[in-house]
């Protein structure tokens, strides 16, 4: 088999290069004026006229996104398509975005990210893609459309098509921008005097003595946010060259993107270099060969972007303002805390301040920066495909394509000896580490298309087959310790050090294979009655032999009513289409080999020679019955064109995922360390999606408006028998703050509720159950009046209730384009509503952590407030240590995301300089955000890749930057 594969590959490659060479030498052709054709959309393994589409496909064209200064290409989808939620993972340069099509489809192991297909290549993300190279993006939202991708399609499919060459003269174009960014918001934190007073009050309220004898002596103290926030820069330069003739067309581009963060920009940056070569060659009238190839180099460094356990952001929020950033006045600090030889100093030789009160993971961010310098992550991605397309017997097309992605990535970091605080130091040895990983994935697909027309009957039949191999991967990690140097600039693996100081580990990935057959029939009668039927059969190596295969059918229908004879031509409703479909999709995302029992290493023990002996034991209980998770989706919709200038689309869907593949609870007495896998769990999403467009020109003035609005309702329907919930997000010593519970939306917040604040002791004494016992015997005036929600006469964990959903009920976006003569203006706003945010900015276990100024509205005596509790360190009533609605805020926001003004220099001027078009523009990004949320940013994604769907938990979030840019589009 392998021999066959490699031989085929070899021949294809040879064929391709020969053809390419031939094409290059072919004589140039005359330019033909292209005919205006009806808009078509990509539908997966083909295209379709937009008017005949029966599924829910949102299409985004290059012109919609070419001037959006996004850091990552997927961010351009934000607010563009109803039902497609895009949440930027943080304001950190290079941060990806979490993209969800019609909500969270599953709560199994895999990501809920849609399937990304770039030029037919299935890839894990599109972060490597150059934004200017994108010709179009199609989101296949409904089951019937996505079904052609079968087992991988349950979470939606996003097809990205890159630009191809156009025949005609050589066309060189440049797009670029440069700008500055800063934080649009800082938190209102206590200054040093306020801080000292509040801390004193905490001691006094608990019956102790105040800590600070003279709070006023501290003055304003340190604003730690000033110590971390700065000005970031963002720039991008993209050059593309296209051209071709009758035989060959090509598209070549190069891009460079460079961004530094608004938080400590020397340790928070992202640089990307792209190159792309696409070409198509008509070898004969029958045979077309083509290829796409992209190379991307990324180098970046980042800080904790949403993490309560350390990092500059959490430190800046929690550090006390009485500690100086740099110690210059020794009377303000205790000198004995600054005796360690590995203490970090500023360029003047003064030590960075060490807080005597707030430590553990919280450190002076200026000193912390010193540890991070020189560390970086990098990646090299090579993505490409070659295809051959053969037309024969007039109506048949056979296409075979070979697709691949090879990635190398890794990191390099140096840890010097340092002493940032008694709890955060490394005084033993320095260490230099590098990680190198690589991954290769490839697939081959063959399709046969038959297309014909019999009178008014249009028929298109697709048959296809594919094989896929994923995760052919591995990596190594190497650490040198005790290098004879002191700083990162000198750190090198060239130093010869004793073998004992070298640690190395390596790993191999576990390969996954898939094989598929698929077919589709698209039929219409006179463009009036539309039918699409799809079936795909997929096999996956993740399941036992007798469970390999799954079949995924779908069907959709459409009716172009306005094409009926009875439909009177009118100026109110120009066109109407009704469409609907139903499809079943699959999901196999889970660990490999969970269908069988395996002995794995790691249950090790030590022998008396002080050496590790490796133990082998079964890791979990096998489950040979594992099978696909299935998502069925019903979509009903209508498309209108109204008053000649308006377009309106309404989609309603219901998506139900059953047999969710996840790790389930089993009794501990079975005696395996890991939970086994099973098909247990159901969830449903339903929603309404509206898209409205308006376009009109009056002479020199043109306007276009596109708005979209979507609702979503998510409900968990089933977990294991007798299990009503499992915990989701947790926060420090508070424990779980949200959970996945039957009958509730995924990730609902869950906790206690209070009805107010006890104003005096007699209220506490009167707060009794029916037996006359005090409900809150530990309470003092100023503490929360916790509610006995279950009415059992005591207040405990059983009184917790659902406190709201982390999933926005509504998302919306609005784009307005205006142009007048040579000026153009664009405004884009997006937002969400109906969700809650948990604000976990202050560390609970650090009693001396700084507060937001909200604490100044605390309860201070009878009648002072009924909303905020008193300050207390011991917190006997759990005002602060219990999860409650006190920590939740509304997450509604509307953000003016992009505002852009452009001017195109008149062509008669530019042609004199050999340029066909020159457009200059200024852009503002994240200009204004309307929200009542008091944290840095209401757009809060999960804290890392494995917690992407645990949203709305603010652990000191890296805010998105407000950026102002100038840019130019130049065409030669």
């Amino acid at each position: 088999m392998n021999v066959q594969i490699s031989r085929s590959l070899g021949i294809i490659a040879a064929l391709y290069f020969t053809a390419n060479f031939n094409a290059q030498t072919a004589p140039a052709d005359t330019v033909q004026k292209e005919q205006k054709i009806e808009e078509v959309v990509m539908i997966g393994y083909g295209t379709q006229k937009k008017s005949n589409v029966t599924g829910a496909i949102s299409s985004i064209k290059a012109s919609d996104i070419e001037n959006i200064p996004a850091g990552k290409p997927e961010q351009v989808l934000q607010g563009r398509a109803a039902g497609v939620s895009v949440v930027t993972n943080s304001g950190q340069p290079g941060a990806a975005a979490t993209v969800r099509v019609r909500g969270i489809t599953s709560f199994g192991a895999g990501s809920n990210s849609p399937l990304w297909v770039v030029d037919g290549i299935v890839v894990d993300n599109i972060g490597w893609l150059n934004q200017s190279d994108i010709e179009s993006i199609e989101v296949l939202k409904d089951g019937a459309s996505a079904a052609i991708y079968g087992v991988s399609a349950a979470k939606g499919v996003i097809l990205v098509t890159t630009k191809k060459g156009k025949k005609g003269r050589l066309n060189l174009s440049y797009n670029g921008f440069y700008g500055f960014a800063n934080a649009s918001k800082k938190l209102d934190l206590l200054d040093a005097t306020q801080y000292a007073n509040i801390i004193n009050e905490g001691f006094v309220n608990d019956g102790g003595a105040p800590r600070f004898s003279n709070p006023e002596s501290f003055g304003k103290g340190t604003d730690w946010q000033d110590a971390i926030f700065g000005t970031g820069e963002k720039s991008s330069h993209e050059v593309s060259i296209t051209g071709g003739n009758e035989k060959s067309t090509y598209y070549t581009s190069f891009g460079y993107f460079d961004q530094t963060g608004i938080v400590m920009s020397d340790i928070s940056y992202y640089k990307r270099l792209n190159a792309r070569f696409n070409s198509t060659h008509k070898v004969t009238d029958y045979l077309t060969l083509g290829q796409t190839f992209a190379y991307t180099r990324i180098k970046s460094q980042g800080i904790s972007a949403n993490e309560e356990f350390g990092g500059p952001l959490a430190s800046a929020v929690n550090l006390d303002p009485t500690t100086p950033v740099v110690v210059t006045d020794w009377s303000m600090v205790d000198p004995s805390a600054y005796t360690n030889q590995y203490i970090i100093r500023d360029p003047n030789g003064n030590p960075y301040g060490i807080s005597p009160y707030v430590n553990q993971e919280m450190t002076n961010p200026r000193a912390f920066r010193y540890l991070q310098q020189g560390n970086n992550n990098w990646s090299d991605d090579f993505v490409g495909n070659v295809f051959a397309e053969l037309k024969f017997l007039k109506n048949f097309t056979f296409k075979t394509s070979l697709n691949g992605k090879k990635s190398y990535w890794g990191s390099r970091s140096f840890s010097p000896k340092y002493y940032l605080s008694p709890n955060f130091s490394n005084t033993n040895f320095n260490s230099l580490n590098k990680v190198d990983e690589n991954k290769f994935e490839w697939s081959m697909e063959n399709t046969l298309t038959y297309q014909n027309r019999f009178g008014d009957h249009n028929l298109s039949v697709l048959l296809g087959q594919g094989v896929y191999r994923y995760n052919i991967s591995g990596g190594t990690s190497l650490t040198y310790t005790n290098l004879p140097i002191e700083n990162w600039q000198d750190a090198s693996f060239n130093f010869n050090i004793p073998q004992d100081n070298i640690t190395a580990t390596g790993w191999d990935g576990i390969q996954t294979r898939k094989a598929s057959y698929f077919g589709r029939i698209i039929y219409d009668y006179a463009d009036k009655y539309l039918f699409t039927g799809t079936i795909r059969r997929d096999g996956s190596s993740k399941f036992a032999t007798n469970q390999h295969w799954g079949t995924f059918p779908s069907m959709s229908l459409g009716w172009n009513i306005n094409k009926e004879n009875f439909w009177p031509e009118n100026k109110v409703i120009n066109t109407v289409k009704l469409r609907g479909g139903y499809g079943i999709l699959g999901n196999d995302e889970m660990e490999n080999f969970r269908f069988a029992s395996f002995m794995v290493s790691g249950s090790n023990y030590t022998n008396s020679g002080n050496n590790i002996v490796i133990g082998y034991a079964p890791s979990t209980l096998e489950n040979p019955n594992l099978k696909w998770e299935e998502t069925s989706q019903l979509n009903i919709a209508a498309d209108f064109k109204l008053f000649n200038n308006f377009t309106f689309t309404a989609d309603w869907y219901k998506k139900k995922t059953t047999d969710i593949l996840r790790q389930v609870n089993i009794p501990g007495y079975i005696g395996v360390p890991n939970l086994p896998w099973s098909n247990v769990g159901d969830m449903e999403n339903s929603g309404l999606e509206l898209e409205l467009g308006y376009k009109k020109n009056w002479g020199d003035f043109g306007i276009s408006v596109n708005g979209n609005f979507a609702t979503i309702k998510n409900e968990v329907l089933r977990l294991e028998d007798d299990i009503e919930y499992f915990n989701l997000a947790s926060f420090q010593t508070m424990g779980a703050v949200s959970r996945v519970a039957v009958g509730q939306p995924y990730g609902s917040f869950y906790g206690q509720t209070y009805s107010g604040v006890f104003q005096n002791q007699s209220q506490i004494d009167a707060y009794k159950n029916t037996n006359g016992q005090l409900l809150l015997p530990n309470a003092k005036p100023g503490d929360f009046i916790w509610q006995d929600n279950n009415g059992d006469g005591k207040i405990d964990d059983n009184d917790k209730v659902n406190l709201g959903s982390s999933i926005p009920k509504y998302t919306f976006g609005l784009t307005i384009n205006l142009n007048y003569k040579n000026f153009d203006f664009m405004m884009f706003a997006q937002g969400q509503a109906g969700n809650k945010i948990f604000q976990g900015l202050r560390r609970l276990d650090m009693l001396d952590a700084n507060y937001q100024t909200k604490v100044l509205d605390r309860w201070t005596g009878e009648g002072s407030t009924n909303d905020n509790p008193r300050v207390t360190r011991n917190d006997p009533n759990h005002n602060y240590s219990w999860m409650s609605n006190y920590y939740l805020q509304k997450g509604d926001y509307v953000r003016l995301k992009i505002i852009q003004l452009g001017y195109t220099i008149p062509q008669d001027v530019t042609t004199r300089f050999g340029m066909s078009k020159v457009r200059l523009y200024i852009t503002g990004e994240n200009v204004l955000t309307f929200t009542k949320y008091t944290g840095y940013d209401p757009e809060i994604a999960g804290r890392n890749n494995s917690e992407q769907d645990i949203i709305g938990v603010d652990r000191a979030y890296y805010p998105q930057a407000r950026t102002f840019l100038i840019g130019a589009n130049i065409q030669f």
Partner: protein, 516 residues
């Protein structure tokens, strides 16, 4: 047409390629031709001695539960006793250990690992017992491996039954198609009968004594000590005494298995050089849990199978400890820990005048008064810390793992002084042999004889074994827990056993223990 040859070539190749791949795709073999690299299919494992040994190692791995991980049983049960408080950073630092300290522990706060980890050891032992006989290796080794697995399984069942009382007794591997949801709990007597029989039957197949890299394996001496202890808890006093007699031999002398009290009590808790540590596997050690810094243990797998450090050390160290810069400072150079298991004043007073006091208790209060050290008093601070496992800076690992997680002090779960006192107890606390056993324990630390009695044995156990994780079980066994632990909230008839962790109950046939 000059490109015609490409057409034919292209045609041929596209079809050839298509066909060849279709061929592959048709076949389930294509999908099955992937490998779970780095692991072995359980059905195909147990081919030879090496594989059998690795499976046996995983059975031993669970011994680490005594002293490894945050949820180790020594600090946990110390916190439940009258000798120690929970300690820790604050009253929320470890819901389980705090709950046992004040007897608010419930099915939600008890860490599930106390239940689950021992069952993992049992499942691994079951697999060894079932599958080793089919491996290609000598019959003698097969018998020995199986016997070791049976003793370990019995030990793990003993730990479960004395912690939880009512437990399922599972003696074979569970497969996916077994009805594993409906396994009932059995009476403690049934567990005791099974494990007493298993150990008794296994003893002849075990090594008499161990040497070299086999040190730490279950030998006949170890098995008899475990069996004697099990009999003692099962109130089978004559049987217990006879097993202990085999282990102990002549009080103060060297027994048939080479056991002998070490001359210097403090040596039991010393740590030597990394390479050859003379304090490990002393003649007094009967069941020793091994730790090393070579696992490079890190926070990511702390308390799991790969973690090989002793966690009692860092847990019992005072917080933010530092030596004052004064001449001739004789205070120990302690690595700052987390201040768990602060010593009760009651124990401190009880040990006054005892030669073992300073080995057992670190009097931080006194060093502070003398201006030699400073530390941050944490939760339930008394100024006294458990000295037997205090982490000192010279014991910090020299390897890349986190210092906190890579202390290499072994923990001795059963030592000869313990079996001496258990035998004396099994003998009813009277008679010449009981007196001799008690005398030997006292004589080792230079104490004169006192008349033997159950009370004398109880007092001696408290002083000799303080902080080694035995006191709570002793109090419960003697029926003294309700009175001695009343100040902590111990409820008679309830707290003698622990609640079964909540997540173990849904969908099973298990019943929660009474009172929880």
């Amino acid at each position: 047409m000059k490109n015609k040859k490409y057409l034919y070539k292209g045609l041929a190749i596209t079809f050839l390629t298509g066909l060849s791949f279709s061929n592959i795709a048709c076949n389930d073999a294509y999908l099955d031709d992937v490998q779970n690299l780095g692991s072995f299919n359980t059905d195909l494992y147990f081919q030879n001695e090496q594989q059998s040994f690795s499976a046996l190692v995983s059975t031993y791995d669970i011994l680490r539960k005594y002293s490894g991980g945050f949820e180790n049983s020594v600090t946990f049960f110390n916190a439940g006793s009258d000798d120690f408080f929970s300690g820790g950073g604050n009253s929320n630092d470890g819901a389980g250990i705090q709950g046992l300290n004040n007897y608010t522990i419930n099915s939600n706060t008890i860490p599930a690992s106390y239940w689950r980890d021992y069952y993992q050891g049992i499942a691994r032992a079951n697999l060894v017992i079932e599958r080793v006989p089919g491996a290609k290796m000598s019959d003698e080794l097969k018998k020995r491996y199986t016997a070791e697995a049976k003793v370990l399984r019995s030990l793990y069942y003993f730990e479960l039954v004395r912690m939880f009382g009512n437990i399922p007794l599972i003696l074979k591997s569970i497969k996916f198609d077994d009805d594993y949801w409906n396994i009932p709990q059995v009476k403690p007597a049934e567990v005791y009968a099974q494990i007493e029989g298993d150990i008794a039957a296994a003893i002849p197949d075990l090594m008499l004594t161990s040497s070299g890299n086999d040190k730490g394996r279950i030998t006949q001496g170890t098995a008899r000590a475990i069996l004697g202890k099990i009999y003692l808890y099962d109130k089978k006093m004559p049987e217990a005494a006879s097993q202990f007699a085999e282990v102990n031999g002549v009080p103060g002398g060297t027994s048939q298995y080479g056991y002998k009290l070490v001359a210097n009590y403090a040596d039991l808790f010393k740590v030597g050089p990394e390479t050859t540590d003379p304090y490990k596997f002393s003649t007094e050690s009967i069941l020793e849990v091994m730790h090393t810094n070579k696992g490079n243990s890190d926070w990511g797998f702390w308390g799991q199978g790969k973690d090989e450090g002793n966690s009692i050390n860092v847990m019992t160290g005072p917080r933010s400890y530092s030596l004052k810069n004064i001449p001739n400072n004789n205070a120990p150079d302690i690595y700052s820990g987390w201040a768990f298991n602060t010593v009760t004043v009651d124990l401190f007073n009880f040990m006054q005048g005892d030669p073992r006091l300073n080995t057992t208790i670190f009097n931080a209060k006194q060093f502070v008064t003398d201006g030699k050290i400073s530390y941050s008093p944490a939760f339930a601070d008394t100024g006294y810390f458990l000295n037997k496992y205090l982490p000192t800076n010279d014991l910090k690992t020299s390897l890349p793992g986190a210092a906190e997680l890579n202390f290499r002090q072994n923990y001795i779960a059963i030592r000869l002084a313990d079996t001496y006192l258990m035998e004396a107890e099994a003998l009813g606390g009277n008679g010449a042999r009981a007196q001799a056993l008690l005398n030997a324990v006292r004589a080792r630390v230079g104490l004169a004889s006192v008349p033997v009695s159950i009370q004398a044995i109880k007092d001696e156990r408290r002083r000799e074994l303080a902080g080694e994780g035995h006191r709570w079980f002793d109090l419960v066994r003697w029926g003294d827990a309700p009175s001695k632990l009343a100040f902590k909230g111990f409820m008679s008839g309830k707290n003698e056993i622990l609640p079964i962790p909540f997540n173990e109950l849904p969908n099973t046939a298990l019943h929660q223990n009474p009172g929880y």
